[in-house]
Symmetry: C2
Subunit: 376 residues, 2 copies
């Protein structure tokens, strides 16, 4: 293996890597990221970016072991780790243990295709926690089994990941039929596929629904991968897909204690054009307010997505048993349930949320911990 090769331009260092690829590093970037600019304790940046020139003039670059020694016209000398430069090539995404590729699924995944993990193992073994979390991020849906028969057993599993997301419904919630319900979830009627709380700036990330009892007739659960439905729509009807990405619609929830609303599109794309969020909830969608010019086309697009949520091609139905918990990405996987007859038995789910920020933070820390354990 030969060493990387440096070509000095006054405003740019051109690096030819050993595999022949070439990267351009503007000198302002090299100076901005000079290792001399970090706080020794907090590792936050201390460099005053305004104290350096807009275009620092590079004079020479030489390899010294694992470092590039860079000399500038203003007499500054940087010792840049080659590893840092290689990991942070401009224009390229850096490796991130929190980047988990979604594996899209449809009905043919089947209930047997939903990854299952054992509660007790997740609670005690970090490697098992990591594997379960990666499955949950990959499929957007897993089942945790053999939970203890106590109200907080599911919460304990969720808190292995991080702190819970509080919403206007509290930090935890009971899905049972209640008198004077402020939400259809708290009745016994069927709930068509939906995502929770699309009326929030950031809807809750991962949802945990621990089944404590499911003895009533009916009450089966439904799930569908909202990303798969969106990608199929993109392939079949790009114009409908575009309208769902570009047109914000109002979402609103209002009761005695809260009145929370936002305008957001049904489909949100990430920086690389892939779907990163679905907001779909027929009950919480407000009165559409786009201009009358695009409204009929928008309704067509919206109904096309809606039709997919009814299509058996995408739906997995199963009946949760006491002691099981479904865990799903509420910003990806739609959930729903059949109606049930409360006179025939008790149905009780205990739920909570952990946001994506905490989830992926934990995944990064676990990955670090596990890779340290492996090498030591």
């Amino acid at each position: 293996m030969t060493a990387p090769h440096f070509t000095v331009q006054t405003d740019m260092l051109v690096v030819t890597w050993t595999d022949g690829t070439i990267t351009h590093f503007p000198t302002i970037w090299l100076r901005d990221n000079c290792p001399s600019g970090l706080h020794p304790e907090t590792h936050e940046r201390l460099l005053d970016l305004l104290a350096i020139d807009e275009t620092p003039v590079l004079i020479s670059a030489a390899l010294d072991g694992d470092f590039a020694v860079l000399e500038y016209e203003d007499a500054h000398v940087s010792h840049m780790p080659i590893a840092l430069m290689s990991a942070h090539r401009p224009g390229r995404r850096t490796d991130d243990a929190g980047d988990v590729s979604a594996q899209l699924w449809r009905a043919d995944l089947g209930i047997l295709g939903i990854p299952r993990h054992i509660s007790a193992t997740i609670m005690t073994d970090d490697q098992a926690l990591n594997t379960w979390m990666r499955d949950t991020a990959t499929f957007g849906l897993t089942i945790v089994e053999h939970l203890q028969d106590r109200i907080d057993a599911g919460i304990d599993v969720a808190e292995r990941i991080g702190f819970l997301r509080t919403t206007n419904f509290g930090t935890t919630f009971e899905v049972i039929n209640k008198p004077d319900p402020n939400n259809l979830a708290y009745t016994s009627v069927a709930l068509p596929l939906h995502t929770d709380l699309p009326n929030q700036e950031v809807p809750p990330g991962y949802q945990f629904l621990h089944c404590l009892a499911n003895e009533a007739k009916g009450g089966g659960s439904l799930f569908a991968d909202g990303f798969a439905m969106a990608e199929d729509l993109r392939a079949e009807d790009p114009e409908a897909f575009r309208l769902l990405c570009e047109t914000p619609i109002p979402f609103r929830f209002s009761d005695h204690d809260a009145d929370i609303k936002v305008h957001r599109p049904v489909i949100t794309l990430g920086a690389f054009g892939h779907v990163i969020e679905i907001r779909y909830n027929a009950h919480l969608a407000g009165i559409f307010d786009m201009s009358a010019k695009i409204m009929p086309a928008y309704y067509r697009a919206y109904r096309a997505y809606m039709a997919k949520t009814r299509d058996p091609k995408y739906r997995i139905n199963f009946r949760l048993k006491a002691g099981e918990m479904v865990v799903f990405d509420n910003r990806r996987v739609l959930h729903g349930r059949d109606s049930f007859d409360p006179s025939t038995g008790f149905r009780h789910l205990h739920g909570c949320y952990v946001d994506r920020g905490e989830f992926f933070s934990r995944l990064r820390l676990l990955e670090k911990e596990i890779s340290i354990a492996k090498t030591s």
Copy 2:
């Protein structure tokens, strides 16, 4: 005042309002919003949008008191409240008590221009709470005075609005110099103007910093209106403004317990083109990773915004006194502090956050309550 006038088209109702303005209502919208489709208890939508035609055919429209009576070819008859139709004209923003226009400010606002409110009044009087909250939303910065000398006095004021936002730093936090700090805020060094936690998907909304003691030499507070700096940049250098709006940059915070990162632009625009969020934190900005092609231009844009944060034209400096609390929109107003000498006395701020969702929910409920009180 004459009545609105209806013109029936098969796929559209054209309404000429009494002031002469004209609104087009596509029939699919009229059917989607027919009042017959709401759950009697939860007021969520029950209508199955797929059960109606893509383009319902309207046959007749007639005014009946406060209602439009609309007859369709499929025999459906709607009684649409005129008030609902008027409030929700397609293409027009609906009135929202949570829409508060930002009043931009610069140094010439002066410390005397920052609205001041009395803690005890906010705690007991909903009208005073409403007025204070509207000032806070308008200016992005207010001062609450005469807080009791106890650690939770500021938290109590914040909780008059809603529940607190939990972050990896906890639900409340102490700004004092600590051993083994994980954040520069917990040292005694100067903090240049910044917004908190731009590494979160949604950075905390409103921040509350209750001053319990400020006896050390130094430790003055700085504030600047990030929206004003952004709007001035838009006027002076539209290309720099555009780059700051369109280029996501990495923000990251990492310590033993958390590793949280996102890519987001420094300036975020709302649906109507106005600035709705600033993320600016030199310490938490990660290593820039846009392509080398735009990188030098991006650095120029970023430094142009940075230069504004140093410009006295935008900064208000003052010294918080024990018993005072600053409250500011952390996604708009940048805050900072001078370094202080911990050997000369104690400096202690107690802080928490309430997110925008809870803030504007409370504002909508207060407005409703106050308007009911007025009319009864």
